[in-house]
Amino acid sequence: MKSAVLVFPGSNREGDVARALTRITGYAPAMVWHADTALPEGTDLVVLPGGFSYGDYLRCGAIAGRAPIMDAVQAHAKKGGLVLGICNGFQILCEAGLLPGVLMRNAQLKFMCHDVFLRVERSDTPFTRRYNAGDVIRVPVAHGEGNYIADAETIARLEGEGLVLFRYTSPEGKLDEAYNFNGATNAIAGILSDKLNVLGLMPHPENHIDAAIGPTDGRGLFESVKAALAA
C-alpha cells in the first residue's frame, strides 16, 4: 500500500503518523511537500497530519486548505481515494471543502491535551473495519480549536446518513456533556465524507500504537486502512 503524508509549514505530527503507518502497514509513506502539485504515482492513502500549518494564521487550516498540493488531494478524493485528516488535518479538510462544517475554538477557550474516549459509531468503513461498532477507544487529543459545528441541515444530514464516525463519550461509551470537553455539536470527534473515503478527526490515533508507552487503541485505524486497501 502506498501512502503519502503531506507536510505543510508548521505541521508537527507528520513524524508520528509516518511512524504509525510504517510500523502498522509495513510500508513507509512518501512525505509530500505542500508546494508540490502531484501525489506520487499510485498513492492509495493521503494523510494530512496534525500541527499548526501556517501558524494557524487567518483561521486554522485556512491557508493550507488552498496550498498547491490540495488540487491533487481533491482529485484523489473525487476518484474515491482514501484521505485521512488528523487534528489540524481535519481543520484543513474542512477549509478545503472536502468535509463540511468548521472547527471552532474549544468552548472553554483552553488548549486541551489529554486522553479522551471515543465511541466508534460504525465498523463498515475503510477506517474502522478492525473495530466493532460501539467500541470505545482511548486516544489523546491536543488542540485548541476542535469544537465541531455546522449548520443544522448539515448536522441532520451527517447524522441521518451515518457519517459521524467518532464521538467523545464516557469510558463506557455513554454520551455525557462532561466528556464532550471541547463543546462539539453532538459530541462529534470525527466525520466521513458522503462516499466514506475521507475521514477527519480531532484526536490522534497515531500516538496510541505502542504498548511501551501506553494504550494501543489507535492501531485499529491503521490496521483497518491496510485491510481495506488489501481487500
Partner: protein
C-alpha cells in the same frame, strides 16, 4: 486603491473569544457593555484603479480565503 474588508461571525455562531473579552471589559468596570463579538479587519492595497473591478476581486478573495462563509459574513469597502 485602498480597501478594507471586515469579516465578522454570523449571528448565532458561538464566539467564546468575544465572550471572554466581554467578561474582561466588565471586570475592568467599563459600564454599559452588553455584548462583544470579535471579528477581523484586512486593509488591502490594490493595483487596480477601477472600483468595480476592485470590489469584484475582493469579493472573490473573501469567498475563496478571507472568510469562511459557513460561519462568517464579510463586507468590502473600497476607500479609493
Amino acid at each position: 486603491m485602498k480597501a478594507r474588508v471586515t469579516v465578522t461571525l454570523k449571528s448565532g455562531v458561538l464566539d467564546p473569544q468575544g465572550k471572554a473579552i466581554e467578561g474582561a471589559l466588565k471586570s475592568l468596570g467599563i459600564e454599559g457593555v452588553s455584548s462583544v463579538r470579535q471579528g477581523k479587519v484586512f486593509d488591502i492595497e490594490l493595483a487596480s484603479k477601477d472600483k468595480k473591478a476592485a470590489e469584484s476581486a475582493l469579493k472573490n478573495a473573501c469567498e475563496k480565503l478571507l472568510a469562511n462563509t459557513v460561519i462568517e459574513n464579510y463586507r468590502v469597502e473600497v476607500i479609493g
